[in-house]
Amino acid sequence: MSELLTIQNLKTYFYTYAGVVKALDGIDFGIKKGETLGLVGETGCGKSVTSLAIMRLVPDPPGRIVDGVITYKGEDLLKKSEEEMRKIRGSRITMVFQDPMTFINPVITIGDQISEVIKLHRNLALKSLETEIENLKIKASSMDKESKEAQEIFSKIGKLERMKDLPPKISRSRTNELALKHTIEVLKLVQMPYPEKIVKQYPHELSGGMRQRAMIAMALSCNPDLLIADEATTSLDVTIQAQILLLINDLKKRLGSSIMLITHDLGVVAEMCDRVIVMYAGVIVEEAYTKDLFKHPLHPYTAGLLSSIPRLDIDANRLEIIPGSVPNLIDPPKGCRFHPRCKYAMVICKGEKPPMIEVSPGHRVACYIYGQ
């Protein structure tokens, strides 16, 4: 599999009155075509900032991407103009957020909101032309090929085919009609019940699960290369979460998009992801295939995280804990950022930041226990 997107040495800082918050302090990773990559970590570890940086949506001020390269299809996203970025956002790289109510406009119907994305990013004039050609072809196929009428239709098809490079403008009502048709199609794709009715409804009329489906439909309306799901199922009930996860998996298979799944729920990661990246306090501490990570977690933080969750399948009287809490990113600990909470901490951990080392193929970790 080839890399769809690579991130090198990405640094994002937030300049606040209290000081500079180093939310991302040099992270490197790549997303392959068609894979599901999980990004896990606790509050404030920088997983959401990573997705915002990819979308170039870091609020500026106070945030700024100070360094790094984000390569998408051979081009650096960080060097693109706002206009070029707008063409990628929402069509090539799309995002589903945690709380659908905050990101859907409450006073615009679901149908109009999804149509808007389609009108902006899809060439509806071309689509209109194509459907016209298609209709003519169907008409011609039922006729006698030698007849005069059929000949006329064939010449018309030829004429329309030549217009494909520069399709004629279509009327506004025709645009709306086509966009609505497409909207209903994508809503059907996300298994929304009664899509014809839903398009006329406002967000508050839908339940949480249905709103999330609408968000996913919006994100998928232009067949994106990469779908970023930022805690997309966190606010949902488990039975609804199960529906949405099943849907995302199904759509990924059908559309072949890559998915970046940001979550703090290790159960969701185990179920959905091919590969996992564990983040802690603005840096990546471990990167592995899902099976390897759960079987042999290398970094003490990953191991601690895995043993601190109460499990349905294992009985335990007491939970293992990671002492202390996540450090303040204005003045993070020197060296390895996890060392104040780590039970294996050595002198060297307080000095330099540990480099990423590859312990086994595809399994990389930033920890001095595994050599320097």
Partner: protein, 335 residues
């Protein structure tokens, strides 16, 4: 440890339940029109019964809108129940006057879900934790407050230099500990824990859950643990009640429920939890649709419209049936 837990069990077998809830109902009126007439009801809790034995934990689990929080608040009479009985320590607290209730609340405390909303941002930690002592006229002078508050803070893992700080200086986990210290201030016997760890990160959640377990065994506390997280409920509880749309659909000892869930909703709920083990292939029962609105709950079995095993017999009200000792299920198929 096993010796004491067996001893506890024997003791609790002999003693009466500390809390007995019988047929608890809470219907919130919906007002509408120009004159604010009642046009309907939200049947938030519609006939819930359970017992909690002293020193044990009862876990209430269910999805959002199933009425679990309303049950917790009704038990403390923070909202008045519509009907039903709540027996606490031999008294039916629904009939108590406000004055008597206030006295009884010393023995019943609560820890809320959101540690950001449940602490007054303008008060110092010592005032927050000391307030229950002041309003109940147990202490009055500043030094007395400090003397009483400090051991409470150390008990939940905070220290003396946290006394004179404001809530905003603490992380979510630390705030939740302040809430716990406040709940412990009056030496209660019973604490309602309403989603105490839902807003916390997993590593902090583990710390908090361990503290809660320690406190329970040291102080012989009785908990009503409300959560939507089944793994946490399983970790904390001795008995469990699974709620759906205002009713308990299945209740029993933890092991009975987790090893042998009988109600189709319980089965679906358990199967929906993602297990952090990639080698495990989930046998998932995916439910169709959403939870219906509690303003107009389905007739008969409330789970009927979403139930994968529903049949014609499910039109009638589902009564609680005992499937094994202490394990009750409200399902027509279990009869």
């Amino acid at each position: 440890m096993p010796a004491t837990s067996t001893a506890n069990r024997i003791v609790s077998k002999l003693t009466e339940p500390l809390l007995k809830v019988k047929g608890l109902k809470k219907h919130f009126p919906i007002r509408g029109g120009v004159f604010g007439k009642t046009v309907g009801f939200v049947y938030a809790v519609d006939g819930v019964s359970f017992d909690v034995e002293p020193g044990r934990t009862m876990g209430l689990v269910g999805e959002s809108g199933c009425g679990k929080t309303t049950v917790g608040r009704c038990i403390l009479r923070l909202i008045e129940p519509t009907s039903g009985e709540i027996w606490f320590n031999g008294k039916n607290i629904v009939e108590l006057k406000e004055e008597e209730m206030r006295k009884l609340r010393r023995e019943m405390q609560v820890v809320f879900q959101d540690p950001y909303a449940s602490l007054n941002p303008r008060w110092l930690v010592k005032d927050i934790v000391g307030e229950p002592l002041v309003v109940n006229h147990i202490v009055s002078t500043r030094t007395e407050i400090k003397d009483r508050v400090l051991p409470l803070l150390t008990r939940v893992g905070l220290s003396e230099d946290h006394l004179n700080r404001f809530p905003h200086e603490f992380s979510g986990g630390q705030r939740q500990r302040i809430g716990m210290a406040r709940a412990l201030a009056l030496n209660p016997r019973f604490i309602v824990l309403d989603e105490p760890t839902s807003s916390l990160d997993v590593s902090v959640q583990a710390q908090t859950l361990n503290i809660l377990k320690d406190l329970q065994s040291e102080l012989h506390l009785t908990y009503l643990f409300i959560s939507h997280n089944l793994s946490v409920i399983k970790h904390m509880s001795d008995t469990i009640g699974v709620m759906y749309l205002g009713k308990i659909v299945e209740t029993g000892a933890k092991n009975d429920i987790f090893k042998n869930p009988v109600h189709p909703y319980t089965q679906a709920l358990f199967s929906a939890i993602p297990i952090p083990d990639p080698e495990r292939i989930p046998h998932r029962i995916v439910l169709e649709g959403d939870v219906p609105s509690p303003t107009n709950p389905p007739k008969g079995c409330r789970f009927g419209p979403r139930c994968p095993r529903a049949s014609e017999g499910c039109d009638g009200e589902a009564e609680m049936v005992e499937v094994s000792s202490g394990h009750y299920v409200a399902c027509h198929l279990a009869q």
